[in-house]
């Protein structure tokens, strides 16, 4: 019977319309209120809401990085480590070259994007699953990043802060005033870069031809190739974009932490999938939701922060995140299996296509 309840939920959640976004948004608000009712401490703006929104801002960008890879039916398991590389490059430029915040951030993002290009090229050239390639890339970068930190520092962190970094990491919208009225204090300044990125991603996937082509590739590589989309180049570009976003998230962590360390990004993997998947992005490619990723990430972090404020241990936190991911996956695949007839047909075409491709 539980399956039936899930099934009913599945229809509302998976139907990729605005209804799903409303459900998700209301869930975020409801859960927030529920936690506040149980424990008024949860409404604490300085120690709960502010860090919650700051993390959510960062992880929305992480989610968007994963969403970009998912949009072409790929995955990027190296999101965390690409963020670490960006953080490292930025940290080095601050520490040794006295770079300004903006220059360091751009250098870091560029370094990550280069790694993304490399990943994309390997995927295209080797024909190996993206998750194996990005996993191998992750392994390589783990060692590389740790090595650089131990070589260049004694304390395994780059701690030099360029002008404005400390401010950006701690300031809130209360510093932005229109006459006598200022923004709320619980909204971190880091929301602004996150919203700029969100706006850019909405533009890409809604308005640009590039975004439409990525979605088309996610739906069917073969049909896209037939429609004269340069699929190989787009795959490489998608991975570069994914990596650049991961890098931006890494820089955001540096700003909120106040230092670049090798540990940055090690916790990115699960949230990077939870955000987009909760928001309605398909694991199989071809369907994305930028706004959904925001609310998916918010939901994850409201849950996480609610549980920690309750003093719930790590074990319960991990278990609930894992179970949440499993639930989302089951719901998604239920809806997919519902439309199996249609999908099966499409798959047959694609299998034949890839069989033909591998014979070539």
């Amino acid at each position: 019977m539980a399956g039936l309840g899930l099934a009913i939920n599945a229809r509302t959640l998976i139907n990729r319309s605005n209804a799903q976004l409303w459900v998700l948004a209301s869930l975020v608000v409801l859960i927030w209120f529920a936690f506040t009712l149980v424990d008024p401490n949860f409404a604490n703006s300085v120690f709960v809401t502010y860090p919650l929104l700051r993390d959510a801002a960062t992880f929305t960008v992480v989610g968007l990085a994963q969403m970009t890879a998912l949009s072409i039916g790929h995955m990027n398991l190296a999101v965390g480590r690409m963020a670490a590389v960006a953080a490292m490059v930025a940290g080095i430029s601050f520490q040794f070259f006295g770079a300004s915040l903006l220059v360091g951030a751009l250098l870091g993002i560029a370094a990550a994007a280069l790694l993304g290009v490399l990943t994309g090229v390997i995927i295209v050239v080797s024909n190996v699953n993206s998750f194996i390639v990005t996993l191998a890339m992750d392994f390589l970068l783990v060692g590389f990043v740790a090595l650089v930190y131990t070589r260049l520092t004694t304390a395994a962190a780059f701690t030099v802060k360029p002008d404005g970094m400390k401010y950006l990491g701690r300031a809130s919208l209360a510093d932005i005033c229109a006459g006598p009225v200022c923004g709320p204090r619980f909204m971190p300044m880091l929301l602004i870069p996150a919203l700029v990125i969100v706006g850019y991603m909405i533009w890409i996937y809604r308005r640009s031809r590039f975004g439409r082509e990525l979605i088309a590739i996610g739906n069917s590589m073969r049909a896209s190739a037939a429609a004269a989309i340069p699929t190989r180049r787009r795959v490489i570009q998608a991975h570069a974009l994914s990596a650049a976003l991961a890098g931006a998230a890494g820089i955001m962590v540096v700003i909120s932490n106040g230092a670049a360390t090798a540990a940055i990004g090690s916790e990115f993997m699960i949230p990077s999938f939870l955000g987009p998947l909760l928001g309605g992005t398909s694991l199989l490619g071809g369907a994305v939701s930028v706004i959904g990723t925001i609310f998916g990430t918010l939901l994850t972090f409201v849950l996480r922060s609610g549980l920690t404020t309750h003093g719930v241990g790590l074990e319960a936190l991990n278990i609930s995140l894992g179970v949440l991911l499993l639930l989302v996956l089951s719901v998604q695949s239920f809806s997919r299996i519902r439309g199996q007839m249609r999908m099966a047909k499409a798959r047959m075409v694609r299998v034949r296509a890839s069989a033909a491709g591998s014979r070539r």
Binding site: N18, V46, F47, T49, R185, F186, G258, T261, T309
Partner: protein, 381 residues
């Protein structure tokens, strides 16, 4: 497509408007959390802070003169992550709560050796009403910004077990072992048991920990004093998080260079335990000087497989640390020298005093409390 975009934009707009309505915007002249509708500022009436950055003005200055009883202080003892060193901290927390009449003393070791997580944990403890913190910072290189953040919000914070890297300490005080001296003495003791000659290996903890750097210096100093009679084969670092890794790393070394090693000095608990286990399995005649007083180490001393151990004072660090941050937070006392360093003591333990050293250590903790009361703090009344 366009239609959908518009709907989404509307959705976003609605939500943004809703949040703003719900939260209320802050007034331009607002200071501190009192502008927000949430009951956040309840715990924020604390003594003044000496923060030096932009948000210092926002903090709860002005209440500097207020004195509250210790029964209103909730102390959080936060370490870097799970580690056997902290086995006695829950007991120290309970004892401090009872002895000093504090509202609560909690011990939390869920930082997972990750500074981001530790910062989040500290925030969540603050949200739960804890207002005095004794912290072992995960990343000593940037822990000062965490300390400043806590002080800006009006909390007393002390650095325990490890001090921030560099010369600056943004916490009110640092209470830890003089690790360089302890490592130096332990190495000296090992060199003595070796008869003043041979090759030794140093196994130790995380390189990120500033303690590790100081320990390496201590060991090297002792080796240098032997005038070349003692050869330092290598430092093995970053093996203090789990026993398996530590044991494997030492085994790897013994596999290739076991025959040339005469002694091992361990300056972090887990790495020392790993060395003991690895040497036992390899069945080599290697002398070990360990650190701390976990069961495997004390058992090793009793059965002779471990030459000695440099015992630190974790219980005292927690107990005394909790006392001092509580006193500071209550406004009853102020620190004389901001960021002062205090040695929590270390004791060389061998077969002769393995069952008696604890009494000496408890004595040391008591004298530490006296030292704070008489020398490092200025208290009212």
């Amino acid at each position: 497509m366009t239609h959908r975009t518009r709907r989404i934009t509307r959705l976003l707009g609605a939500i943004a408007a809703g949040t703003l309505l719900f939260a209320g915007c802050s007034a331009n002249s607002a200071s501190s959390g009192s502008a927000s509708p949430e009951p956040a500022s309840a715990e924020e009436s604390a003594e003044g802070t000496s923060g030096d950055d932009t948000s210092a003005a926002d903090s709860s200055a002005g209440s500097a003169g207020d004195v509250m009883p210790l029964s209103e202080i909730k102390v959080a003892l936060v370490n870097g992550g799970p580690h056997p060193y902290y086995a006695s901290w829950p007991d120290a927390a309970a004892q401090a709560k009872k002895d000093f009449g504090l509202a609560d003393v909690t011990f939390d070791d869920t930082s997972e050796w990750d500074q981001t997580k530790q910062n989040a944990l500290l925030d969540s403890l603050a949200a739960r009403g804890y207002n005095a913190f004794a912290v072992f910072g995960v990343s000593p290189a940037d822990i000062n910004s965490t300390f400043e953040h806590l002080r800006d919000e009006g909390f007393a914070v002390g650095s325990v077990t490890s001090c921030p890297a560099g010369d600056k300490d943004s916490a009110y005080f640092c209470l830890s072992t003089d690790v360089e001296q302890a490592a130096y003495e332990a190495t000296k003791a090992l060199i003595d048991t070796l008869g003043g000659e041979g090759s030794i290996v140093h196994v130790t903890g995380l390189l990120v920990d500033s303690n590790t750097q100081r320990r390496i210096e201590g060991v090297e100093k002792a080796v240098a004093e032997s005038n070349g009679k003692i050869k330092l084969v290598q430092h093995i670092s970053d093996i203090d998080n789990d026993l398996q890794t530590a044991e494997k790393a030492v085994t790897d070394l013994l596999v290739s260079r076991g025959s040339e090693v005469d002694g091992i000095v361990g300056t972090s608990t887990v790495s020392a335990e790993g060395a003991i286990a690895a040497v036992k399995k390899a069945n080599l005649p290697i002398k070990i000087m360990a650190i701390d007083d976990t069961e495997p180490i004390l058992d090793g001393i009793r059965d002779g497989s471990v030459a000695g151990t440099m015992v630190q004072n974790p219980w005292g660090q927690a107990y005394v640390g909790a006392y001092v941050v509580a006193k500071l937070q209550s406004g009853q006392c102020t620190i004389n020298e901001d960021g002062i360093y205090v040695d929590s003591g270390s004791f060389l333990v061998g077969k002769d005093n393995v069952d008696t050293f604890d009494a000496k250590r408890i004595e040391k903790s008591k004298s530490l409390i006296d030292d704070f009361n008489n020398k490092y703090l200025t208290c009212k009344g």
